[in-house]
C-alpha cells in the first residue's frame, strides 16, 4: 500500500486568490526514495505541509497510511508516520542541547524515559551525530544541525521522512552530508524518503523523480526517464545535470548518444563508444 496518497488535491492559501495546487494525484510507495523537483512557487513546499496535516486540502484528500489527514483525532498518528524536516535548521531545533532536541518528539508522544533514551541514542548514531549529543546546537555547522533535525524526526520512528529543501541553506560539504544521510536512511533502514529540492544533482540517486510546476505534476518517472526530457525541463525553468546537458548538446549537433547516461562514467563511456 502507498504510504502517502493524494487524490485530486487542491489547495489555496487563505487570503489568496490563486490556487497553489491544482489537482495533484500522487502515490508514494513505502520504502522508496522519491525526489520532488520544482522551482520556487511550484507548490512543492505546500505539498510537503499537506503530507502531515500541517495544511489541510480545500478539495480532494491526503491519505497517510490509509488515514485521512483531516481526521483531527488521528492527527498525531499522521504526524508520527510522516516526519517533516525543513529548510532552516535553526528554526526547527527547540532545545539547547543536541540530545534534548532529539528527545522532543518522543517526549511529546508520551514515550517512557528509558525508551526515549534508547531512541535518541539510536537516532543520533544513525545520522552520525552521537559524539555531539552534549553539544549546543548553535555551535554546530549547518550540515550537522540539519542532521540533528533529521535525528529529531527519526526519534518518532516514522515510516516516511519528507525533507523540504533540506540543503538550501548549506554549503557543499553540508549538502553532501545530508544527502548521503537520507540516502542511507532509505536504503539501509527502509524508511520512505521524499526529498523536495531544486538541485538536479540531489535527485540522481532517487528511485523516482516527480517534477512540479505551477501546482501541477508535469513529469514523473525514474531520474533517467525524466532527465531525458530536456526540452520539457528547460521550458519549466529547470536545468538538467551536466552529463545530460552535454549529451543533449552533442545530439543537437547531429551525434546520436543515449540521453539516459546519467553518471559521469556512463556519459564518458557513451561518448567514447560514439568516437570509435
Amino acid at each position: 500500500m502507498a504510504i502517502i496518497r493524494t487524490e485530486n488535491l487542491h489547495f489555496t492559501y487563505q487570503g489568496e486568490e490563486n490556487e497553489t495546487l491544482h489537482g495533484v494525484n500522487l502515490e508514494i510507495e513505502e520504502g522508496s526514495f522519491v525526489a520532488i523537483l520544482g522551482h520556487n512557487g511550484s507548490g512543492k513546499s505546500t505539498l510537503a505541509k499537506l503530507f502531515n496535516g500541517i495544511l489541510l486540502p480545500n478539495e480532494g484528500r491526503v491519505l497517510v497510511n490509509g488515514i485521512d489527514t483531516t481526521h483531527e483525532d488521528k492527527l498525531l498518528d499522521v504526524r508520527r508516520t510522516v516526519g517533516l524536516v525543513f529548510q532552516n535548521p535553526d528554526n526547527q531545533i527547540v532545545a539547547n542541547v543536541v540530545e534534548d532536541d532529539v528527545a522532543f518528539a518522543p517526549e511529546n508522544l508520551g514515550v517512557e524515559p528509558d525508551e526515549i533514551r534508547r531512541r535518541v541514542d539510536s537516532a543520533l548514531k544513525t545520522v552520525g551525530m552521537y559524539e555531539y549529543r552534549q553539544h549546543a546546537p548553535h555551535l554546530l555547522s549547518g550540515g550537522q544541525k540539519q542532521r540533528v533535525a533529521i535525528a529529531g524526526v527519526l526519534a518518532m520512528q516514522p515510516r516516511c521522512i519528507v525533507l523540504d529543501e533540506p540543503t538550501a541553506m548549506l554549503d557543499p560539504v553540508g549538502r553532501r552530508e545530508v544527502i548521503s544521510t537520507v540516502t542511507r536512511l532509505c536504503r539501509e533502514e527502509g524508511i520512505t524518503v521524499v526529498l523536495i529540492t531544486h538541485h538536479m544533482s540531489e535527485c540522481i540517486g532517487a528511485d523516482r523523480l516527480v517534477v512540479m510546476s505551477e501546482g501541477r505534476i508535469v513529469a514523473d518517472g525514474t531520474p533517467r526517464e525524466v532527465f531525458a526530457q530536456v526540452e520539457l525541463l528547460r521550458s519549466e525553468g529547470l536545468s538538467v545535470p551536466v552529463t545530460t546537458e552535454l549529451i543533449y548538446e552533442l545530439n543537437q549537433d547531429g551525434w546520436v548518444l543515449p540521453l539516459d547516461a546519467l553518471t559521469v562514467d556512463e556519459c564518458a563511456d557513451a561518448v567514447a563508444a560514439a568516437l570509435k
Partner: protein
C-alpha cells in the same frame, strides 16, 4: 563582539553542588536567604560566612568569578554601608559634624550589613553559576506545578522561557549579521550623540523584529510536525528525581536554619 555575551553565567562542573536537583537548589537558596536575615550579631554572621565559604569551596567556583559578579552591585553595597554608618544610634560617638554622626554601633552595623548583602549575592550567584538555565527552568516548572490546579499556565511559561533561552544565541548571531550589513552600507553604531546612536539602531531592530516573527512561525510548524500538542501527556527523557545527595542537602539546610533560629533567639 556580541558573541562574547555569556548566558546565565553558568559554569559547567562536576561537583556535588552542580549535581544537586535544581529544585533542591532553588529551595535551599530560599532557606539560605531566610537564614541570612535571621543573623543578628557577630557569631551568627560568622557562621553564615563559613557556610557560604564552604559552599563556594565545594562548588569549585573561582573567587574571582564571584567578585566579578559583585562588581556591578558595588554601588548598592557602598550605599547601604554609608546609610547604616550615619543613621545608627547608640554606642560611643566617634565623630559628630552637622547631621553626620558616626558611632561604634554605626560602624558595626554598616560592616555587618555589607557582609549580609555580599553573602546574599554570593549565595544566589552560586545557584546560577552551578545550574544551567534549562535545568533552572525545568526545576521552576516542577516546583510551580501545583499552581496548574488554579489554571496558571506553568508548562507554557516554562516552554516560552526555554525557547527564549534557546534562541538568544541565534538572535545574537543574526544581530551581528544585520549590523555588519548596515555598517557595510555606511551605518554608524558607535559614535555620535546618544540620540543619534539610538536612531541608528532602528534600522537594526526592524529587520530583527520581522525575522523573529518569521522564525516563530517556522518554529511553530516544526514543533507541530514533531507532535507537540501542549504539556498534556508529555514525558521527559531526563525526568528530575531526588537522589540521596538531595536529602542530605536538605538536612544540611535544616541544620543551618535551625542553628540560625537558635542564635537569633539568643541574640548572638
Amino acid at each position: 563582539m556580541l558573541k562574547d555575551i555569556t548566558l546565565g553565567q553558568y559554569f559547567p562542573g562536576d561537583t556535588i553542588i552542580h549535581k544537586l536537583d535544581p529544585r533542591t537548589k532553588l529551595i535551599l537558596v530560599i532557606v539560605f536567604i531566610v537564614a541570612l536575615f535571621l543573623a543578628v550579631d557577630w557569631i551568627s554572621y560568622a557562621f553564615m560566612f563559613v557556610v557560604t565559604a564552604l559552599c563556594v569551596k565545594v562548588s569549585t567556583i573561582k573567587l574571582k568569578s564571584i567578585l566579578k559578579g559583585l562588581k556591578p552591585l558595588i554601588f548598592i553595597i557602598v550605599f547601604t554601608g554609608i546609610l547604616n554608618l550615619f543613621y545608627t544610634q547608640g554606642g560611643t560617638v566617634l565623630f559628630d559634624w552637622w547631621i553626620f554622626t558616626i558611632s561604634t554601633a554605626g560602624i558595626k552595623r554598616a560592616f555587618l550589613m555589607i557582609v549580609r548583602i555580599m553573602l546574599l549575592i554570593t549565595g544566589t550567584f552560586l545557584l546560577t553559576y552551578t545550574t544551567s538555565p534549562i535545568a533552572l527552568t525545568d526545576g521552576l516548572e516542577m516546583l510551580l506545578n501545583p499552581l496548574k490546579k488554579i489554571k496558571v499556565p506553568v508548562h507554557e511559561m516554562s516552554m516560552i522561557m526555554s525557547m527564549a533561552l534557546r534562541f538568544i544565541p541565534t538572535l545574537i548571531e543574526e544581530t551581528d549579521k544585520i549590523m555588519s550589513a548596515q555598517k557595510a552600507r555606511g551605518a554608524d553604531f558607535s559614535t555620535g550623540k546618544i540620540t543619534e546612536r539610538a536612531k541608528a539602531l532602528l534600522p537594526l531592530l526592524v529587520p530583527l523584529f520581522v525575522s523573529s516573527f518569521r522564525r516563530a512561525d517556522e518554529l511553530a510548524v516544526a514543533m507541530e510536525s514533531r507532535c507537540y500538542h501542549g504539556g498534556e501527556g508529555r514525558t521527559r527523557m531526563n525526568a528530575l528525581h531526588m537522589a540521596r545527595r538531595d536529602y542530605l542537602a536538605f538536612l544540611a539546610g535544616a541544620i543551618v536554619l535551625g542553628g540560625m533560629i537558635a542564635m537569633n533567639i539568643y541574640g548572638i
